[in-house]
Every structure is written in C-alpha cells, then in structure tokens.
C-alpha cells in the first residue's frame, strides 16, 4: 500500500496499574494502517491485542496510562482531552466488540441507540434523516426496518453483532477496529460478518484493524498481518508472505498450531505466554522458542526490515553486528528452564 496511513502508531506503550505493580500490556508498538486496508492483528490471549486496539481509540480502563504516539489526522491521540477524544470516537474511529450480547443497553430500543449516536455527532440531522440513515445502514447489515423499534433482547447474537456494526458504520468512520468480532458467533454468522466487513472496505474505503486469534480469518480477509507476543509486534508484513514464509519462530509455531482438514496431530507451543508483570529478559519468546540462542536470553531483539514491507524482531535475522561473540550458540535446555524460572 502506498496510501498515506489513516492511523500511524509510534512506540505506543500502555500500562495497567495493578496491586502487584504496573503491567506493560503494550510495549513500544508501531503500526501504520492505510485507507481501505485490512490489517490483521493476531496473537495468543493476553498478548495485548485488545489493549492495543483500545489504546488507538484512547478507550482505556481506569488505572491505565499510555505514552507514545497515535497520529490521526496530523494530531496525536495520546494525551488528548476526553472531549477531543470523544469527538473522534464514532465519526473517525469506530470499535466493534467481541461480545455482542451485552453491548447494547437492554433498556433502549435499537432506534434509540441510533438516535443517540447520530444526535451526538451530527446534531443538525432531523428525526426523518436519522431514521433514513439508520434504516439504510441496518438494511445493509440485513436487519429489516420492522425490527427498528425492538429491544436488544429480541435479537440473536449474530443480529446484535450486525446491529453493533451498523451503529459503528452509520457514522462512516475512517478506521474501524474490530476486536474479535466473530469469536462468540457460529461459523455461518462469522462468514456473514466477515463479508459485511469486506463490503465496508470496498464501498467506503474504511480502514480495518481486525483483531483475532483465528489465523484462517486473517488469511482470508487481511492485506497485512501483525503478530503480537507479550505486548510487542514481533513480525509484520503482507499476510500472504508472512503465512507462506514466516520469519519469526513464534509466527511459525502459531501457524503450525492451526487446524485444517490435513491436521493429523495437534501442535501446541510448550509453555504459556509470560506474565506481563515481570516479563523475561531479552526476547520475551525465548523461554518457549525452539530456535533460542544465547543472545536471546540476555538482550532485547532489534527490529529489522527483511523486505521492503516486512519487519521482524528476532535475533535469527540479525543484525549480526549487534550479537555478542558466541551469542548465536544454541540455548541449552537447562538454560531454558532457568530462564523460565527467572
């Protein structure tokens, strides 16, 4: 993509304050998303995907703080006042959630949700225009006008997710962040939702950040993919290239763990993602990495471009001149155990 990025994330860090100390959920992430582009963000549960998505909207829970840059329209979202942020949320940056069942206010009709949203951002709209725009958007999502005045509990999960998407899309945001939008839905509904999202990009040039742990979805619908591990993006590039020839051992292991019709045996990555309260020294993946070297256990990997549009954070790709002497020796099993304990 040669387009100007809609959103440009630079060295974004997000911390959660907990009783046991700060947790670095997102640790120095950079990512560009261009207009009309679909970027997949993948990784295991708890690696900071959702936090990154919310960090881009400045929608962090109480007790979280962030620094770095999220540039949208020439301005940094990090450090904006709540009022400025509120103006961006909706008409510029949209968010749809994993769990559609509880995302609509149970006491409000669908109609009222749309009215509230449109009145908030386009106060000059009349009731008739609000109704027309809402029904048109809902219609595109396959929700008939007869159901406009119903309450959320009268809809199924898949329908509620389509309503949520319609609520986000009715304002025609430049960037839509979809946080595991199909995880709680069955495969047929999943396919519907994905095709709706694909239409959005085609018809309106909406940029889409698709957060998921389903690599199949990424392969099917994303232009580029970013792989997250323990708060960092460890590899990023065109989805096709990354899937055919993964550069990071984590990406490779993740791809091996997927299930297809040819799968005869389930592959899993030994160990669990590290605690972000006290992440391991050096590369955060080294305790679980089958290709770990001495250097990985001691020194943070440096991001390296391995192609015009691909980057990776792994000592296997160098830069060689930064690896201390003897650092490329294989990290022995005992060391792995020790490192894991530390």
């Amino acid at each position: 993509m040669t387009n100007e990025p809609v959103v440009s994330v630079r060295e974004l860090r997000v911390y959660y304050g907990t009783k046991r100390g700060p947790v670095q959920a997102v640790d120095g992430v950079s990512l560009d998303i261009a207009a009309g582009e679909v970027v997949g963000l993948v990784g295991e549960s708890g690696c900071g995907k959702s936090t990154l998505g919310r960090g881009i909207l400045g929608l962090l829970p109480e007790g979280a703080s962030s620094d770095g840059e999220v540039i949208y329209g020439g301005r940094n979202i990090v450090g904006m006042t709540p009022k400025e942020l509120r103006r961006l949320r909706g008409p510029d940056l949209g968010l749809i959630f994993q769990e559609p069942m509880t995302r609509l206010n149970p006491l409000m009709r669908i109609e009222e949700h749309f009215k509230e949203t449109l009145e908030q951002h386009e106060p000059s709209l009349g009731d008739k225009e609000i109704r027309r725009r809402s029904l048109e958007t809902l219609g595109r999502m396959g929700i008939p006008p007869t159901r406009f005045s119903q309450y959320p509990h009268e809809f199924s999960g898949g329908m509620r997710q389509r309503i949520m998407i319609a609520l986000a899309v009715v304002l025609q945001p430049k960037l839509l962040i979809a946080d595991e939008p199909t995880t709680s839905l069955d495969v047929i509904v999943e396919a519907q939702i994905l095709s709706i999202l694909a239409d959005l990009r085609r018809n309106f040039g909406t940029a889409l950040l698709l957060i998921t742990h389903n690599l199949g979805i990424v392969a099917e619908s994303c232009d580029r993919v970013a792989v997250m591990y323990a708060g960092k993006i460890v590899e990023e590039g065109p989805a096709r290239d990354v899937f055919i020839d993964p550069a990071h051992p984590y990406t490779r292991e993740l791809l091996r763990s997927t299930i297809s019709l040819e799968t005869s045996e389930l592959h899993s990555i030994p160990g669990a993602p590290p605690s972000l309260l006290d992440p391991p020294r050096g590369c955060r993946f080294h305790p679980r990495c089958p290709s770990a070297m001495w250097v990985c256990a001691t020194t943070d990997p440096i991001e390296k471009r391995i192609d015009a549009d691909r980057r990776v954070q792994c000592w296997l790709h160098g830069p060689e001149d930064r690896i201390p002497e003897g650092g490329t020796a294989e990290l022995e099993r005992e060391e792995i155990a020790v490192a894991e304990e530390a």
Binding site: L57, L59, P82, R86, R87, L88, R89, G90, P91, G94, L95, F97, E99, T102, R103, L104, N105, P106, L107, M108, E116, T117, Q120, H121, S149, Y151, H153, M164, L167, A168, L171
Partner: protein, 342 residues
Amino acid sequence: MAAKGTSLRQYALTRLALVVPMVLILLTLVFLLMRVAPGDPVSASLGGHAPPAVINQIKHKLGFDKPLYVQYVQYLGNVGRGNFGTAINPAQPVSEIIKVNGTATLELTLYAMIIAITVGVAIGLLAGRFRDTPVDSGGRLFGIIIYATPIFFLGLMAQLFFGVYLGWLPVSGRASPLTQATLTTHTNIYTIDAIIDRNWAALGDVLRHMILPAFTLGLVTAGVFIRLIRINVIRTMKDDYIEAARARGINERSVVYHHAFRNALVPVITIIGLQVALLLGGAVLTETTFNWPGIGHELLLYIENRDYAAVQGIIVVFALVVVAVSVVIDFVGAFIDPRIRY
C-alpha cells in the same frame, strides 16, 4: 407496538390474579397467630380479676368459644363483605380506626418515602458515580450512620436539637390545637385537607409538624437506598454497553444518566417496594416517638389488649398496603425494563 401492549396487559393480569392467594394466606396467618398467642381480649380487658364464669359468658357472647374453623369462616366472610368488626377496648369500629389513624400513617409514610427516595437516590447515585472520592466516602458514612441509628434515638435527638434546643419545629402531634380545630377533615390527610380548604396557615402548620417525623423515618430508609444504589451504579458503570457507548463517542453525561443510572435503578425499584413494609414497621416506632396518632400507635395499644378484631384489621390493612405497593412497583418495573414483560 401491539405485541408490547398485549404482553404488558397479560403481565398485569397475571400479577393481579396472584394478589388473591397472597391476601388469603395473609388473612389466615394473622387469624391463626392471634389465636396462638397467649391471652385473649376478654381477660385482658377485665384485668384478670373477673370470675371465670363472667369471662366465659362474655366470650360466649362475642363468639370466642366457637370452634376455630367456625370463627375463621365467619371472619373471612366478614372481611369479604368489608366488615372488619369492632374493637373491644377502647371500643370503636375497626373501620373507623383504619379511616382515622390509617390516613395519619399513610400521610407520614408517604412523606417519609419521598424523603427516603430523594435523599437515597441522590446520594447513592453521586457516591457511585464519584467512587472513591470524598463524595463517596461521605455518602457512605452518612448512609451507614443513619441506617444503624435506631429510629427512636434519631427521633429523640431530632426533637432535642430542632425542637428543644433550636426551638424551630414542633416535636409532637400532627398539627397544633388551633389547626386541629379549624381544619375540616375531607380526607383526613391533613396536607390535602388544607389545600382543599385553601387554608394556607393550616398547611404550613401541618407541614412543620411533618418535618421531624418524616425525616426521621425517611432518613433511616434512605440509608438502605444509598448503599444499594451506590453498588448498582458502580456495577453498571462496568457493564459492556457503557464501554460500547463510550466507544461511539457518547458524551459522559449521557453515558452516566441515560445508560448507567437508568440501568442501576431497575433492581432498586423492587427493593423500594420491599422497603415500604419496613417503613410501616418503622412508622410504629416513629409514631410513638412523635406522639403521632397513626395506626401503628393504635396497633401497639390493641396488641397489649389482645384485641383480636382490631389487631387483625390493622395488620390486614398493613399487609394490603404492602401488597398494593408491590403490585404497583412490579408494574413500574415492567414498564421500565422490557425484559420483565417476557
């Protein structure tokens, strides 16, 4: 819309039908409890010095020597015709007690309820909204103190401070003798009577007499509301649709008022209904403290005299009020929360 109307009507009819067995069970319980409790109205009113022959003769005249089931059937028949019988000592028709003293209690509890809801909802919402701030700590402390204080103690302190020490407010009775003499009783609810007569001096006097007892009774009940509403607001503020509304850029004011507060108050409505029962119980103490000629005041007197007819009549009235309030509360709940109707 038609579907909604039907289901609401159906709900209302079912709810009303349930009142019949509730009242029947209640009448039976009150009847049995009075017979099981030691003592009887005749010995109590004659002071225990009358010869057994005289006592038995009076008992026979009043029908207390008949088998219990005969008395029970007669009692149900009488109540069914709206006849609550006659109290023995002091002798007067029970319906008269209900009319005169019942309305005094009704007026007191009505104002107490208004105060309880106003104070409780306001402080509860604020404490929940501004959690862990001085507003919250202050609100909680206030709630605990007024809830933990016995009504008669709070009443006595209020009398001492506002009545005796500051001399601002009258400490007993419903009105000054002058007002009692000049006010025509249309409804026996003095504030309404005064308004009907356009007797503004009387209205002021009646309201001044109302302040201390109504606040005493209302504040104790408000203590429950404060804690309950605060917890509900805190819980609701964490709900998924709140985050979703923020993600659509809805302003914080609407998020709090339209989404959080409305949802937080749904469970509270049910509790308000239950509190009416407690309020009536509290009214007995308040009436005694403030020498308020209410029905609770009378109830204590007649319980001491073991007056079957009077006690049964008064308790049934209490019970009917609680049943009526719970029906109304259920309707309000169903009206506010569409999910209850299904």
